[in-house]
Symmetry: C2
Subunit: 200 residues, 2 copies
């Protein structure tokens, strides 16, 4: 443990600055506030985070965060076990669930492949997914990662791993095209050209 106030504060700043979306300056401001005028928030974060770290773990089936042996969705026997939808985060899973258009299972990566930050497919639990495809005789995997550079990379890497291991497996991506309620005139070029290519 560091000894002086400055060292403690510097260590906290470094830890926060290493998190996504926070730079050195915003981390410094955060730490000043946490130890200065927001001590009660800081104490609550300490308590809640320690508690969550102890109780919350990855679901052995779908890799999402849960406090139960298996998460609620995986415990639901009415879901179609032959299809697995791969999403990046629990928030993405909630978005897909809210459509009521999908009744299969999920696999939540809890991140995106990012070699620069050491986030490999293994880190995202791909071995668990492979084992599940084998065990439950899954016939389709829907790669519902974002259409951003990181999301596309993740989908590409996962598709490679799965196709190599299971040549018979159907690996799909969500359809791309015009969003609902949009006018052609105001659609960006990339979306429109994709919608023309994939027309049906």
């Amino acid at each position: 443990m560091p000894s002086s106030a400055d060292e403690r504060i510097a260590r906290l700043e470094d830890l926060f600055a290493s998190l996504p979306g926070l730079g050195p300056r915003s981390a410094a401001r955060l730490v000043t506030e946490l130890l200065g005028t927001r001590k009660s928030t800081a104490q609550a974060i300490c308590r809640t985070l320690a508690d969550a770290l102890e109780c919350v773990h990855h679901c052995p089936q779908c890799h999402t965060l849960t406090t139960q042996p298996v998460c609620d969705l995986c415990a639901d026997r009415t879901r179609d076990a032959s299809v697995v939808c791969v999403v990046e985060t629990p928030a993405d899973q909630k978005a897909v669930e809210s459509t009521v258009a999908y009744r299969g299972g999920y696999f939540v990566l809890m991140g995106r492949v990012n070699p620069l930050e050491g986030v490999t497919p293994q880190e995202l639990g791909v071995d668990k997914l492979v084992e599940r495809i084998e065990r439950e005789n899954v016939r389709e995997v829907v790669l519902a990662t974002s259409y951003t550079a990181e999301g596309e990379t993740t989908a590409h890497v996962l598709a490679g791993v799965l196709k190599k291991r299971f040549p018979e497996l159907r690996v799909t991506r969500l359809a791309r095209g015009l969003p609902s309620g949009v006018e052609i005139e105001y659609t960006d070029v990339a979306t429109l050209s994709r919608a023309i290519t994939d027309r049906r």
Copy 2:
């Protein structure tokens, strides 16, 4: 304590979202990463934050954060006790110190007056400052808060409190004008007009 994983995660997200510079979406991403792929960082934050909250406290003289009974700077007997420079954060204090142009004492607010978030002058330790001015016979207070809306408000409110209490006290602000190494042509209008008004 909340019971399910969702409740724990939602509580953590709310806590992080209440901090400056973090919105609901960035807080959600942060929590997913902390409990997912960055558990070791999360554990380190828990430990370091709990340790800092226990050992780090406000210096009774200048309100900055310290682990000692009095901070190093306040313990330094060679400083001129008759002048107090009021800064917003330890980072601002470091910036002023680095100039070597100032040899007086400091008062670190650890924040800015913000009535909407309940940050009053009292919250920022103004009573401690008033007591110190009385005790040490301070003759000048330099209000070195930022020239932003929040910083200006803070200076204005503090100047009001101090002037009312000590009519004889000299209350100053840092000089405003053109920064060093800048060309007149490329200076913004607000800075230039201020530099003309305050010409000497």
